[in-house]
Symmetry: C2
Subunit: 365 residues, 2 copies
Amino acid sequence: MALTERTLLGPGPSNPYPEATAGLSAPLLGHLDPEFIGLLERTCDRLRAVWGTANPLTLPLSGTGSIGMEAAFANTVRRGDVAVIAVNGLFGARMCEVAARYGAEVVRVDHAWGEPVDVERVLAAHPAPAIVAAVHAETSTGVRSDIAALGAALRERSPEALLLADCVTSLGGTEIALDAWGVDIAYSGTQKCLGVAPGLAPFSFSERAWQRRVTAPPIWYLDLGLLGAYVRGGPGGRTYHHTAPVAMIASLDAALERIAEEGVDAVAERHRAAGRRLQEGLVEMGLELFAAEGHRLPQLTTVRVPGDVDSAKVREQLLTEYGIEIGAGAGEYASSVWRIGLMGHNARMDRAELVLGALRRVLRR
Amino acid sequence: MALTERTLLGPGPSNPYPEATAGLSAPLLGHLDPEFIGLLERTCDRLRAVWGTANPLTLPLSGTGSIGMEAAFANTVRRGDVAVIAVNGLFGARMCEVAARYGAEVVRVDHAWGEPVDVERVLAAHPAPAIVAAVHAETSTGVRSDIAALGAALRERSPEALLLADCVTSLGGTEIALDAWGVDIAYSGTQKCLGVAPGLAPFSFSERAWQRRVTAPPIWYLDLGLLGAYVRGGPGGRTYHHTAPVAMIASLDAALERIAEEGVDAVAERHRAAGRRLQEGLVEMGLELFAAEGHRLPQLTTVRVPGDVDSAKVREQLLTEYGIEIGAGAGEYASSVWRIGLMGHNARMDRAELVLGALRRVLRR
């Protein structure tokens, strides 16, 4: 059955790069085929380039973005470990829930939604945390937090702590430098700025985190000891763990090749330019942006729904009349905020003008 | 970069149905788009048809086949629960490892590899198990076990026990009747007889299992309470859990449509006919089949490597000269057995003749 074409300008998935779509339907290889192993190694190298890391354990996990969060805590938290978690939106809150399931003593540092993470408050929350976690780009609020500053301050204050950064909405759209920032554990999803369908969770784990990892974590599927033996190999060669999602990995590889050819910095600049135009246009229309000024993500804009407007009805009209998907707000902002993404292949001026024009018509502004 | 075309006749992945490949590159929908929700519901319905079940909680989990095993144990095992696990190959052994990680007291019933599960021995292993688990189609040995008989005997002996069946290599290639057989928990993978790329784990959970499920299992990503709220909805409508792998699900839906059009029984018969021809041809060539007679899977044939033959060299020659992938053996049979799959789109007479012809040339028989 034919599916309808949509312009996906919500918080993800975004429309994939054409190269990524072509990669999905390329001839399928076996997961142990030498040609696939070469492709996987190249994909991991290309992931290292967009992450800004030399971590040997950098790979796409076989699940959607959330599985990255799960793997991060499953492989690092021992019962009773103190995890200081910055919460400035839905995904910070989810980290608290996931960490608690693995037995962490969670110290939750709440912020107003729409505000960035306050480095001083996070570091003052506990004198000796095992893990400090924050979201780089909060998908629920459209806010970017300064992970570089958090990393630098953490190294001064609690050099033993592992630093975890959720990069689901930043990877491939915003410059990231895991190694320079001192991030030990990071994960992302493919369906945002990387411009690939949902289904993989890029993941990176520092040697420091590897030395302190949990051996035999509760979850076998995400046991990094076993995964590492397949991805990195070992004295006895590669050990089969589970069948890799080969089509999705070929698609990710193709998108990363496209990003490399354009240049990581140029791609980030393209995201910035498109997001700036969208945010200017929304303000010109008399709308109010939600995220704190100076901390707004260009790839994901949050805007307040005018008081006299039915939020869901506008979204439905955009979908049915223009084929444009934008997102509702998250949590308590479900009907008072819209989320508009210009990510990956959609981080373009024409997409910004398209959604501005359609919104102007629908809102009669 | 162009990938080489292969004929994938190993233990999976197999070459996808053309419809499944087309589904992968269909226009991408958002995971909350009403059109996608309709597609997901249809996919779950079609899964119920191939599983032979009315279980409301029947869905594709967002990971490869192994994640189905993980979800099965994560949502059912409480610390100290007795899990009787039949082991007649690699995947039975893996169930023991996964169950143990969730705190099960594992009662392992070992069988010789290549033999089917002995119902009497399994049931005699413990008087009151919480879970009894077996593999329907052992991917490591090519053996089919009689889950219907196990279910019937279990209902007599330990009616309280939940029955778990690994159907990774059977679903879509062999008739399955979960409800009639009394199976409570079943999982599969898409890359075998369903004829889809790897990346999803079809999963089915009975109402009885649902009533007794673990609430808040260690793993958030596979928490069926949360997943059910997205897939089945609830009083407050559907609750977002994680971004579904929409392209993979569209692909699975297309393959299931193809299977439904051909007819589940006709598809199984096609697998039987192709597998029979392959097994006859191998015997005619003077080779010895590995799996016990009368219990051989048509979709996955295991054959002993002749003593004077270098197993890996033959596989490499098939791959490089003929573009054909067959599998090595598993575990201690790595170099003494080959595994040849005729699954999904490859369950065809021409594929059987192709691999027989190529093997005959390479082995000079």
